[in-house]
């Protein structure tokens, strides 16, 4: 599964064209990049912070930094990889400053979840038990489990499981080897399995 965004925007301009125009000072081109990458980057940052307000603020800072740094973007990697790297680094720095304080604020959940087979399986399996699973409880448990992971492990789980990136892409974004990515994922999955065992039995 690869959920990398298409390299063209809604009006047909490729990332390469938009970046080139933005580097020449075309702010509308940069706006198009912002519009295109906001949903993905929101998901990335939110899954690492579990807080809507922090996510929105941080995302503003991320795009502002990307805009300021755009002249130094040489195109050695894709814009997608470049802005993901900025996002991950800034979010990790934010989390280090925030420390252990975590206030989870839940996002809305798309109604499409009701048709997801996994969701149906989880909620169906829970019927007849003392506790029924609803969306918000599931969401809360998933967020709490993610927040129990270390920042590095949470990052790889977000990028791989939630965002659907490949090991090679994650390794490029984080600046670590693919082996390190696989190792962190293994450990994180094992931890999550312990935290959420009542949902996976």
């Amino acid at each position: 599964m690869n959920d990398q965004p298409a390299t063209t925007s809604s009006n047909g301009d490729s990332d390469v064209e938009l970046v080139a125009r933005a580097q020449q000072g075309d702010t509308r081109a940069f706006d198009q990049l912002v519009r295109k990458y906001t949903p993905k980057l929101y998901g990335l940052v939110y899954n690492m912070t579990s807080n809507r307000e922090d996510t929105a603020d941080l995302l503003q800072d991320i795009f502002a930094k990307a805009y300021r740094s755009l002249q130094r973007f040489m195109g050695k990697s894709s814009f997608y990889t470049w802005i993901y790297s900025i996002s991950v680094n800034m979010t990790l720095n934010f989390l280090k400053k925030r420390g252990r304080y975590t206030k989870i604020s839940l996002d809305d959940v798309d109604t499409g979840i009701h048709n997801d087979p996994v969701f149906i399986e989880v909620t169906t399996a829970a019927k007849g038990t003392l506790r029924e699973v609803n969306i918000h409880e599931l969401q809360k448990r998933l967020n709490e489990a993610m927040m129990k992971l270390s920042q590095d492990h949470r990052t790889v789980v977000t990028l791989y499981d939630v965002q659907g990136l490949q090991h090679a892409e994650i390794s490029q974004i984080l600046g670590v080897s693919e082996g390190t990515v696989r190792s962190r994922l293994f450990y994180a999955h094992r931890q999550l399995q312990n935290y959420l065992e009542d949902f996976v039995k």
């Binding site: 020449q24 000072g25 702010t27 706006d31 912002v34 519009r35 906001t38 949903p39 929101y42 998901g43 939110y46 899954n47 809507r52 996510t55 929105a56 995302l59 503003q60 795009f63 502002a64 805009y67 839940l106 996002d107 809305d108 959940v109 798309d110 499409g112 979840i113 997801d116 996994v118 969701f119 989880v122 599931l138 969401q139 998933l142 967020n143 993610m146 789980v157 499981d161 939630v162 965002q163 659907g164 293994f186 999955h189 094992r190 999550l192 399995q193 959420l196 949902f199 996976v200």
Partner: protein, 176 residues
């Protein structure tokens, strides 16, 4: 089956979390507003330099030629405005030369006040400690010099030029 496949499927449900449909539009608007505010906070010189860079990024050859010509004209103008030479005022002084100064003049013994010299024609040849050696101010008149002694007034902070002597053109006054 991968031992972690179930947990991975569960975690993937998080992709349904979404900030809402209006979020992206509002976010882009807020971002634009923030960029405008940051731009306005930048120093004027920084903004000017960015505009210059953008200007030269398009058709650089022709624009560089125009810019070079503009700089040359400005430099010539600046050079023409700077006073050159000492106008024959003649003698070297101590301290800074060419310092503009506004000087008021003492009155002579009949009470007649002396005409103030314009800044362009006066140059302080040297400001020296008043106790030891008063500063010397000279103005070159056709046919002769007029020398004045600059006496700094401590209380007012200004200086008073007191006529020292009238010297014929060409003769070198004794300068201390």
């Amino acid at each position: 089956m991968d031992e972690f496949e179930k947990i991975q499927k569960l975690i993937r449900l998080k992709k349904y979390e979404s900030p809402g449909e209006e979020f992206v539009d509002e976010f882009v608007s807020k971002f634009r507003e923030r960029q405008r505010e940051e731009m306005l906070k930048q120093p004027v010189l920084t903004l000017f330099w960015e505009q210059v860079k953008m200007y030269f990024s398009e058709s650089p050859g022709q624009k560089w030629a125009l810019a070079t010509a503009a700089i040359a004209v400005l430099a010539l103008g600046a050079w023409l405005m700077v006073p050159h030479g000492d106008g024959g005022a003649g003698f070297a002084g101590r301290g800074a030369q060419g310092m503009p100064v506004t000087v008021s003049f003492a009155t002579d013994s009949t009470g007649k006040s002396l005409q103030a010299f314009s800044v362009e024609t006066i140059r302080i040849m040297g400001v020296i400690d008043v106790e030891e050696d008063p500063g010397l101010l000279s103005k070159h008149f056709t046919g002769g010099y007029e020398q004045f002694v600059i006496v700094p007034q401590e209380k007012s902070g200004s200086s008073i030029a007191v006529p020292y002597e009238f010297v014929d053109f060409g003769s070198k006054p004794d300068i201390r």
